[in-house]
């Protein structure tokens, strides 16, 4: 077998967390020298071998050290211990933006970034149209990039990185930003890369996408490698292990909340048949979404609603009590509302629930909790092959038996 493209040997990386927010010379002199800080190990003795010509994934919870490892490979951070060897020309697309200068135009940034990545002016001129075309930014290329949306930013960065024709491409969580068309084109580019025998390393906390995109995956947890191997196996383990620490988010921990407050949602829970709270239902399970509310005064005809989305923000499903013809004349005080789901027809993955109470015309919000409950679905029955929803269908044929 050929030499690996990237070898990571016993790499550890330590960050210092300073106690003072403002580190100034004045404060340091007054303190008489050393700054006070705590040490924090973001990576601990990580070893990996990434063979040439494959697409390699790094999965793990937020904060597990994926980005740190990628930055060490990209030589942006220097490990405190261990060695990293890479072969060939490398391009990195780290979280948002790849070092664009906000005041300069897209065109100037392409040339600047390209020269940082090692292209001469002549090579860049030759590839310029292709770069801009792939990003789909022909009309905006002479505007300052500070006017770009985050999607445009990422598209341009990705386009530069990919068109400098690197041997190794490092990508951190950026693909979630682009729209579906761009994501598809990126995936095609990855496929081209693979065919050309080049190596791609992708980082994501959204495990499901990695299952299909990657040949091999390593799973990082608290800065250490838990597992490395075929992507299906590792991603299954990662999903099943069910991020233990993840419990139902209390209502006041929702990602954002707004509303006038005549009715407040006090908790949003996922419970099983016996009323016990669960965080890891399986496909096909009977589950109940349970809302507890409190109305400070009599509120006529309130409408309760629930919505589900995936981690990358795709809106999967929504349902509210008005469409179901289940609206009380009035509520007052505390109470609960349940939505019984006889069969949870979601495939494995992580989902976010949002909940709301609005008035009957749906124009006035009493309370809205965005992404207030996150849960992971594990393998169950039916077990179907991919995507978010399970249809529970049956294969059959009039012409053969199987």
């Amino acid at each position: 077998m050929a030499d690996p493209a990237i070898v990571v040997e016993g790499v550890s990386k330590r960050f210092r967390l300073y106690h003072e927010r403002n580190r100034s010379l004045k404060a340091t002199i007054m303190r008489g020298g050393r700054a006070r800080y705590e040490e924090f190990w973001a990576l601990r003795d990580v070893s990996l071998e990434i063979p040439e010509g494959i697409t390699f994934g790094l999965v793990g919870e937020n904060g597990s050290g994926k980005s740190t490892l990628l930055k060490c490979i990209a030589r942006i951070l220097r490990p405190d211990d261990g060695k990293i060897r890479t072969r060939g020309k490398m391009a990195a697309l780290l979280e948002l933006g790849s070092g664009f200068h906000p005041e300069l135009s897209g065109r100037e940034n392409v040339f600047l970034n390209g020269s940082i990545l090692g292209l001469s002016k002549r090579e860049l001129t030759a590839r310029f149209d292709e770069i801009v075309g792939f990003a789909g930014l022909e009309r905006f290329i002479d505007q300052p990039v500070k006017n770009y949306s985050s999607g445009m930013y990422v598209r341009l960065g990705f386009s530069v990185a990919i068109n400098i024709d690197p041997d190794v491409l490092l990508v951190d969580e950026v693909l979630a930003v682009g729209d579906a068309v761009f994501q598809r084109r990126c995936n095609e580019k990855f496929a081209d890369f693979r065919r050309a025998g080049k190596t791609v390393v992708i980082v994501s906390h959204a495990a499901e996408a990695m299952r299909t995109m990657c040949d091999q995956v390593a799973w990082l947890k608290d800065g250490q490698v838990v597992a490395q191997g075929r992507s299906e196996d590792v991603v299954d383990d990662y999903v099943d292990e069910g991020h233990e620490d993840r419990v139902a988010v209390a209502a006041d921990e929702a990602q954002s909340r707004w509303g006038s407050g005549e009715v407040r949602l006090q908790s949003v829970r996922l419970v099983d048949r016996t009323g016990r709270q669960i965080t890891h239902p399986s496909t096909g399970d009977a589950v109940t979404f349970r809302l507890r509310y409190r109305a400070e005064k009599a509120v006529p005809k309130p409408v309760f609603g629930l919505a589900l989305e995936t981690l990358d923000g795709t809106w999967l499903w929504a349902h509210h009590t008005r469409d179901a013809g289940f609206v009380p004349d009035e509520i007052y005080g505390e109470g609960t509302v349940d939505l019984h789901v006889p069969h949870l027809m979601l495939q494995t993955g992580t989902y976010d629930l949002s909940a709301s109470v609005v008035d009957y015309t749906a124009t006035h919000q009493y309370d809205y909790l965005r992404r207030c409950l996150r849960f992971d679905v594990e393998h169950g029955t039916p077990r179907e092959s991919g995507g978010f929803v399970a249809l529970g269908g049956q294969w059959s044929s009039a012409d053969f038996d199987a």
Partner: protein
């Protein structure tokens, strides 16, 4: 990758970054490049009015040139000092202002400092060109003396790069370094014979020769004197002075490179 290829790659990047600095500096201003000249000229006018006409500062006539114009005397010191001050201030912004690049892409970080200083060096050259023109118009046939003057620019560039590397990286670790440097530059300006001839200091410190020796240890004192020798007086600066300047500049550069390479690996996380 071979180091030659690495170097060629860095050269291209260096040129690109320098051009970016220059463009950024002059792009959106109505007068474009002339700004680069208006600034020192405005300072020249103000200082000439205040120091020459209000305070009656009297420069010596050029020896042997015989030139006797305060404004030109002033410019010969002001332009090199501006290069120092702009170069240092620019360097201190070079790392912090490009944190987005440093945190996203790998490349030799010292290029940022070098490019910032190079852009100020280009401004300095243009200003010196205009000064040469003024000198010729004022009757100083300065052309042959531009060569030793360029030698001085080279030595001073070493000095500025050394300080720039040192202070730029310190400024990442301690954000108030730039405030201190701002104050120090003001003191430094008046501790250098720019708006007054050195003769005045010598006279004032006649009874304290030790302090005068100390005063002359300031490399900018000798830089300004040496530039004046070449451009105003039309004579070679004393060899002792130029050797001193070369020694100090080389040492400063070495210190800057040393400190920078020590602190550079952690730049991305300290920014």
């Amino acid at each position: 990758m071979s180091s030659v290829a690495e170097l060629a790659k860095s050269r291209e990047l260096f040129v690109n970054l320098t051009l970016r600095e220059l463009r950024g500096k002059y792009k959106r201003s109505l007068l474009g490049w002339t700004w680069s000249l208006l600034n020192p000229l405005a300072t020249m006018v103000i200082f000439t009015v205040v120091f020459r006409f209000f305070l009656k500062v009297e420069p010596d006539p050029g020896n042997p040139s015989g030139l006797h114009v305060f404004a030109i005397f002033l410019l010969c010191g002001l332009l090199p000092f501006n290069f120092l001050s702009n170069g240092i201030t620019g360097s201190m912004g070079a790392l912090i202002g490009n944190s987005n690049l440093i945190q996203k892409v790998f490349f030799p970080r010292e290029i940022l400092v070098a490019a910032s200083i190079a852009s100020w060096l280009v401004s300095f050259w243009i200003e010196l060109g205009v000064l040469a023109l003024i000198l010729v118009l004022a009757g100083n046939f300065v052309l042959p003396w531009l060569l030793p003057a360029l030698g001085l620019v080279l030595i001073q560039t070493m000095f500025v790069i050394g300080l720039g590397l040192l202070l730029s990286v310190l400024n990442v670790y301690f954000r108030d370094v730039q405030h201190f440097v701002g104050i120090i530059l003001q003191i430094w300006f008046y501790a250098t014979p720019i708006v007054y001839p050195i003769r005045v200091v010598a006279a004032a410190l006649e009874k304290y020769p030790a302090i005068f020796t100390l005063y002359k240890l300031n490399p900018m004192v000798r830089f300004v004197e040496a530039y004046r020798d070449c451009l105003y007086d039309l004579r070679f600066p004393p060899l002792l002075d130029t050797s001193y300047l070369f020694g100090v500049s080389a040492a400063t550069l070495a210190l800057g490179v040393l400190v920078f390479t020590r602190l550079e690996p952690k730049l991305a996380e300290e920014l």
